[in-house]
């Protein structure tokens, strides 16, 4: 049962930010609402004001240029990302991730901004975007700022956003040369959230040595996290199966998963190890093929 609320439908971002500034803690923002409405229907979340930004078309865009990289507006749907030609060309891993995010119905209505702001550590976009070194542009009545995605999450369902701030845009730098990103979540049913998920981005130099590695774990702690020890295993080395194995072990040790009915803590760690190894290898193999 949803508790009653006052429904506000701003006509512009400016108006939305003014409403946010006015109602601060007493309001919630709904965009696609594919996650929020579930908890509201369970009675777990109540709010006095609900600000609906789903209709804000000024935030519905996908822009790309080789210099500035990719910019996705907050109200862009998952489905639009999935079907974007430029994203398919430049960031195939994003399309791949979107294909596996819930179901078509959810992707048709759910938005990237809503997903990131919801801060579910089992969400798909955050690990991939973090691996791609993305930043989030947030705004409030006072102004705008950008936050790197790997600093965006502070706790389970908590972000670094202040009251009154709204996700406006996701920014992804243009792909670096000899870089590839691979993502896999482990789940029994394709459309489910991952029991755990791993995104790995590898950059190699001409000689095949690992220049940079970003390993991001999903649902392995209260937020999606960088596995920095695992990254350190790879960076500066000629990559081999033995190293991938070692990186997996490191990731499996540094994550902090919680056991639940779907998987024990031990199993989650094990899966993190396996997926990190596999994804690191997959990203490396792809990177080798890249120009």
């Amino acid at each position: 049962m949803i508790h009653d609320f006052t429904y506000l439908q701003p006509g512009s971002v400016k108006e939305a930010l003014a409403m946010l500034a006015e109602h601060k803690d007493d309001c919630k923002v709904i965009c696609g609402g594919q996650s929020l409405l579930i908890v509201m229907r369970q009675g777990l979340v109540q709010t006095e004001y609900l600000i609906d930004i789903k209709g804000l078309n000024e935030l519905n865009y996908i822009k790309y240029d080789d210099k500035g990289g990719l910019k996705i507006g907050a109200t862009t749907t998952h489905r639009a990302i999935e079907k974007s030609d430029v994203i398919a060309k430049k960031y195939p891993v994003l399309v791949d991730m979107e294909h596996k995010l819930a179901s078509i119905q959810v992707r048709n209505w759910g938005t990237i901004g809503g997903n990131l702001a919801h801060a579910d550590s089992a969400g798909d976009p955050a690990p991939v975007l973090t691996a791609l070194n993305a930043t989030v542009k947030v705004g409030s009545a006072k102004g705008e700022r950008t936050i790197p995605l790997d600093e965006f999450y502070t706790d389970l369902f908590e972000t670094a956003m202040e009251p009154g701030e709204l996700v406006l845009e996701v920014q992804v730098p243009a792909p670096a040369p000899k870089t590839a990103t691979a993502y896999q979540k482990f789940n029994l049913l394709e459309s489910d959230q991952g029991i755990v998920a791993v995104a790995v981005s590898i950059t190699i130099d001409a000689g095949g040595t690992c220049k940079e590695a970003r390993i991001v774990l999903g649902n392995a702690a209260s937020t999606s996290i960088r596995a920095k020890n695992a990254e350190a295993v790879l960076v500066g080395k000629k990559l081999t199966d033995a190293l991938f194995e070692k990186a997996g072990e490191a990731a499996s040790q540094e994550c902090e998963p919680v056991g639940d009915i779907h998987a024990s803590e031990e199993y989650r760690r094990h899966l993190i190890g396996v997926l990190t190894r596999r994804m690191a290898k997959a990203a490396f193999e792809q990177a080798k093929k890249m120009g």
């Binding site: 908890v39 979340v45 919801h118 389970l156 369902f157 919680v258 639940d260």
Partner: protein, 150 residues
Amino acid sequence: MIIEGSFTVKAPIQKLWDMLLQPETLAACLPGAEKIEKIDETTYDAVMKQKVGPIKVKLAFRNKLTNIQPPTHLELEGEGEDVTKLGHIKQKTIVDLKEVGDGQVEVSYKSDVSMVGKLAMFGDRIMKSKAKDVEKEFTKNLQEKMKSVV
């Protein structure tokens, strides 16, 4: 859900024991505790507020000490409810204090917490990870507090 762990504190065991039984200690150490009230020698009422992202719960708890063996063993049982009826929580906790030499006391605890209602049904994963956080913070706070007393 079982929460267990242990830590050591450098303090006389009796002093630790006395402190543990003071509501103020618990109130100060338990994150989110709004009120802890001693009803009688063995009964405490507590109100705890917890927040996980957008989800806020306020739990009203009654705890009873069921087995007290000063200064080494303590058992308590509690039952409570979220004020908006999101869930019903029961807990059974055993705390043991043991002198491990060198003026150190090892405090070990084991809580069996069970929940029913929307919170538990829907938020098993959320609640479990939150409980872990609360536990960590409580232990940290308690250790701090003990240090300051000793």
